[in-house]
Amino acid sequence: MSNPFTVLWNLMQGQRLRYGAALLCLVLATAANYLVPLVGAATIDHAIGNRPVAEASPLVAALLHAVGGAARLGEQLWLAPVLMVLLTAAGGACSYLKGRYTSLASDGIARRLKDDLYDHLNHLPARTLDRSDTGDLVQRCTSDVETTRQFLAVQVMEIGNALILAATALPLLLLLSPPMTLVAFALIPPLVIYGYVYFRKVRHVFKAVDEAEGALTSVIQENLTGIRVVRAFARQDFERTKFAGPNATFRDRNLRLLRLMSWYWSVSDLVALSQLGLVLLVGASWVGQGKLTVGVLFAFLAFLGIMLWPVRQMGRILTDLGKTSVAVGRIQEILGEQREADPVGAPPPPSGPLRGSIVVQNLHFAHARRPAAAASASRAPASAVAPTSADPGAANTEPAVDQPDALNGISFEVTPGETLAVLGPSGGGKSTLMHLLLRLYDYERGSIRLDGRELSSLPRSWVRGQFGTVMQEPFLFSKSLRDNIRLGRGDAPDREIEEAARAACIDDTIRTFEQGYETLIGERGITLSGGQRQRIAIARAILRNPPVLILDDALSAVDGETETLILDALKRRRGHSTTLVIAHRLSTLAHADRVIVLDHGRIIQMGTHEQLAASPGLYRRLWEIQTSVEADFQRELQTQ
């Protein structure tokens, strides 16, 4: 890990001027804060107390000179409070500006980080994301960014503040009284060291509390998600006992932490107050001996009042610095992941509409080599506590493809407008083939040509733009139903959206919802069934009206009758669309012009219905089921 200060400095890029302005305002605010007690001191000593100005420290003398001398101040005593209020207001204005600049800078950096992370995640290869843990990634993008933001908003300024206070207070106080300065700073270093050592030591207690909270939440969650089982076995008492442990542990660990904190704050209060007491005691005795004026003592006490608080925080801030640099490291691991790249120097993609011919030749794809994904390889301690809350979106996630199936040299052609069905057992390579066509995976050997152009020489976004894809478990965004369909074509008018929905046999269902097309999906809205989701995705693809349509087992959760309706509608609409269908049902295959059977990464059969039904193999066995059902019944009824 590089030096945390360097890391922070780099993060501040683009906002450094604002930080500079904030620090300047802080200096001015601090100066004003200094002057307020000085005004009080000068007034009491020289205007009210008639002490000769010659005895005053140079700073006070200068101050008195500025208002026109001690005598004038004595005569017009209202000047002092006016000056005090004005200085406080001016200091306040500076401190306001400081707050404003700091917030613009730190929130601006946080926003930039989030935007960058979001954009980067959108451009990572699908396989990189498959390999990483969603909860961990989201945590990095949210809580790690928040940790960083807080440091940039609060702690950076606290450090700046403390440094400026130390840098300015020291010469000022030395000007007023060198020996007193020594007394005033006597206990400051121990205070800082105490805080630092303390917070380093209690880190594990904080972690223990976090863990206890995680354990408690998971017990509650387990109980509530399994409440039907609990009732089914009337195990309420058992569950209460099971819950009592973690509930008490969470309380007790919190109590332990608080006990430690009460020691920390009371001891640091004791040190800070001793420091104040020391100044008061020594100062008072020196005042008695005439070595010090009351005004200067007053000023020293006021200075200490300003300074002790930030100093008390220093130890804590230094420990936070460590935490922040870990967070920044975790964020940068994501940003360091390789994005999907497009071929450089390739000719521009064709502009006209695609005819939709696909030629696949000797296509190979090997199993993942499983490179260590940075995003999940080095898990910092902060993420060691696995996210315990249930993933609320679990009902609506794309199936993660852990290990894509291999392809061992397949070749086929699809002519424009043709419907080709791909059949085969799971693990045969069907999904891999679709992923390669869509350039979600990169093929290593062989070639795929779209209208004669090699796919790998074309920009990915252009390639994907030529396809309409519906997957078995389509992902819907938490938007309205209308907006989800509109994802297919952003500029589509409402009328076309509804037409597409009708063609996908989902329009009637949508209209039964209270809010119709405006119904929200997902966490804040309704949950759709698998079949409904598939039909929404079909509508999306219909709206897109692409040159090539890919249906990856896209109607598996739709009943047979509806499936036929949808497929017929597709056939009527598409006309020129080339269609690839992955199917598990014979009823789906019936709509295809040709069928290929894929197993173990090879094409083992290819042909029309008639051809395949005539030769032994998977297709014929499926076909025979249809006719054998009735015969089986008769047999069964006779034997019983």
């Binding site: 039907r228 569950e239 297919g488």
Partner: protein, 623 residues
């Protein structure tokens, strides 16, 4: 329906003192912490005020006596205050922390307790995530607000009183002038605190949207890519991230204005003290020490006022959470034993305690514990607001019978089963067990006679052994294994890396659906239920496991009343009676052969299912 619960809690304009008093009462038994906390709060306030006085006496003493002044008394005063203050700080952190944590522990335990008894209809309208938030952050937040609020209110009021009193005692005229800054300070504080709280909530709202967007972008990566939505997604994300940025800047601006503003008003007080007090000092009517004390006090007003305003605002912000938690605690379970049943249970309990009754064969209410028939008599049912799900439904089932329920989803099969389990009660008609309305029998007894296997069987985090033992907590290891053997689960369990001590993962996610189902069979068998209820898994299970499951089912069905929502042909065929349920009615009923011969709904269902199963077995078998 869930959306109503996901809203951010609204800010309550009016403080509901009744609610807060009710919540505070729950802390009253923590006297051993409350009393020292109150004492510490008062002591610290007194010390805070005493500081200015000691400084005043020190200055005056030194000025009066010059070099000969003895500093010992002042030193002693300062030392006493310092020590009291430090002890006070220790006590208040410790006690407020203790109250907060004990209170949240207790409220959480009470809420958990209540949730164990509430009927499923309650769960239907509340997502698990929502309930978890009530039990975790709401409980913590309420307890924190009460404990630290109590501290700050006691401290703030005492300190405020002490400052005012000190000023008035030292010089009441000047005191009144300085105190005149308090009302604007208080009003401004309240105003700003509220604004800051509301804009902080705004930030949280956007933040959760951002979290959701990140989640979506990762989970929906393929969809994004195939739709070429990257740029559009980013544009949408930027809208939210900019909104959050603006909210954060607004929030920071409010804080940045608030503090300087109240400080300036505070300095107005101090300035007034310096001016009027300075004149008095110059004329010898007031000592220099008193003048310094006046200036100090005038600058201190802000702190207690800030704390008081802060705590009141926090209470307003947490009030919605308070209402929800108190609401949960005061919700009476809709399904529970009637007074008559409770009385019978109590009587029988007494009788048993006196040694007057023989336990064997009797349930907790002293009636026979055996369960030989279940009868639906003209049962009607609807969920709270929904349409009628079941209508005039009648059915009698004898022990040893297996009823297979088939039909379209939403037809009422699950409702029927939930009614048997008394997770819901009929809204019309009645369900009788051995001729008695089940509402006249103890709920706990009925439910302990049930063996239930859900469609996606839920297992608890823990080992296989622990999960099976959930059926009967007192079962020995040998009995657990025997149950597993009888449902054919033993083989695969032994094959797991650590056998019966293997972890099943959260919800059982380390096991396949089929394996989970087998374990839940063993769990149900161990409970030795008189009624067995199963919602069969629809997802594909390999042929081998399928055979194991069928053999296991045979063992379970024997001699019991069984209801199965059946999807597999082999299960359906095994049933003694098949009911085709559609739109809350029995469309067809009979044995497999009878129904096949009829060539009605069942025939259609059966043939399509038959084809599907054959197809998937052909595909699973490979080419």
């Amino acid at each position: 329906m869930s959306s109503a619960f996901q809203q951010e809690d609204e800010f309550k304009a009016k403080l509901d003192t009744g609610l807060w008093w009710k919540l505070f009462q729950r802390a009253l038994h923590l006297k051993r912490f409350l009393v020292p906390l109150a004492i510490a709060a008062v002591a610290i306030a007194l010390c805070d005020a005493a500081f200015a006085h000691v400084t005043r006496w020190t200055i005056d003493g030194v000025l009066r006596d010059g070099a000969s002044a003895s500093l010992a008394p002042y030193l002693a005063g300062y030392a006493v205050i310092t020590i009291v203050l430090c002890v006070g700080v220790w006590v208040f952190i410790d006690c407020a922390g203790a109250i907060s944590n004990h209170l949240s522990h207790d409220i959480r335990a009470a809420s958990f307790d209540r949730l164990q008894e509430l009927e499923f209809a309650f769960y239907d309208t509340r997502p698990v995530g929502w309930l978890i938030t009530r039990l975790t952050s709401d409980c913590d937040r309420l307890a924190r607000v009460i404990a630290w609020g109590f501290l700050d209110i006691v401290w703030g009021l005492t300190y405020l009183t002490m400052i005012a009193a000190s000023l008035l005692v030292m010089n009441w005229r000047l005191g009144l002038i300085v105190i005149s800054v308090v009302p604007p300070l208080a009003l401004l504080s309240k105003y700003f605190q509220k604004k800051i709280l509301l804009s902080a909530r705004e930030i949280r709202k956007y933040n959760s949207q951002i979290t959701a967007s990140f989640n979506e972008s990762i989970q929906g990566v393929r969809t994004t890519k195939t739709l070429v939505r990257e740029a559009e997604n980013l544009r949408e994300f930027r809208t939210v991230s900019t909104q959050m940025f603006l909210a954060a800047v607004t929030n920071a601006k409010q804080s940045a204005i608030y503090y300087p503003l109240v400080m300036t008003i505070g300095s107005l007080g101090a300035g007034l003290a310096l001016w009027r007090g300075g004149l008095l000092t110059a004329s010898g009517e007031m000592s220099v020490g008193t003048l310094v004390a006046f200036i100090n006090f005038a600058g201190q007003f802000f702190f207690p006022i800030n704390q008081l305003a802060n705590k009141l605002t926090e209470m307003q912000g947490a009030q919605a959470a308070g209402e929800r938690v108190m609401g949960l605690l005061s919700t009476e379970p809709a399904i529970q034993d009637s007074p008559a049943v409770r009385q019978r249970v109590a009587e029988y309990e007494r009788l048993r305690a006196a040694g007057g009754a023989v336990d064997v064969g009797l349930a907790a209410d002293g009636r026979p514990a055996t369960l030989r028939t279940v009868e639906f008599r003209n049962v009607g049912f609807r969920y709270s607001t929904g349409p009628q799900v079941l209508q005039d439904f009648s059915l009698t089932v004898q022990a040893g019978e297996t009823i297979a329920l088939v039909g379209p989803s939403g037809g009422g099969k699950s409702t029927l089963v939930s009614l048997v389990c008394r997770f819901y009660e009929p809204t019309a008609g009645s369900i009788l067990v051995d001729g008695v309305d089940y509402r006249d029998r103890p709920l706990a007894w009925l439910q302990s006679q049930l063996g239930i296997v859900l469609q996606t069987p839920h297992l608890f985090k823990g080992t296989v052994r622990e999960n099976i033992r959930y059926g009967r907590l007192t079962a020995t290891d040998a009995e657990v294994e025997e149950a597993a053997r009888r449902v054919n689960a033993h083989g695969f369990i032994e094959a797991l890396e650590q056998g019966y001590d293997s972890q099943v993962g959260e919800g059982g996610n380390r096991l396949s659906t089929g394996q989970r189902q087998l374990i839940s069979f063993a769990r149900a068998l161990l409970a030795d239920p008189q009624i067995f209820v199963m919602d069969e898994a629809t997802s594909s299970i390999d042929t081998e496991t399928e055979q194991l499951i069928q053999k296991g089912l045979e063992t379970i069905f024997a001699g019991r009343i069984s209801f199965v929502i059946a999807h597999r042909l082999s299960t359906i065929r095994r049933a003694t009676r098949i009911l085709v349920i559609s739109q809350g009615r029995i469309e067809e009923a009979g044995t497999h052969e009878e129904l096949l011969r009829r060539r009605g709904h069942y025939y259609d269902l059966y043939t399509s299912q038959f084809r599907a199963e054959r197809e998937s077995s052909v595909l699973a078998g490979g080419a």
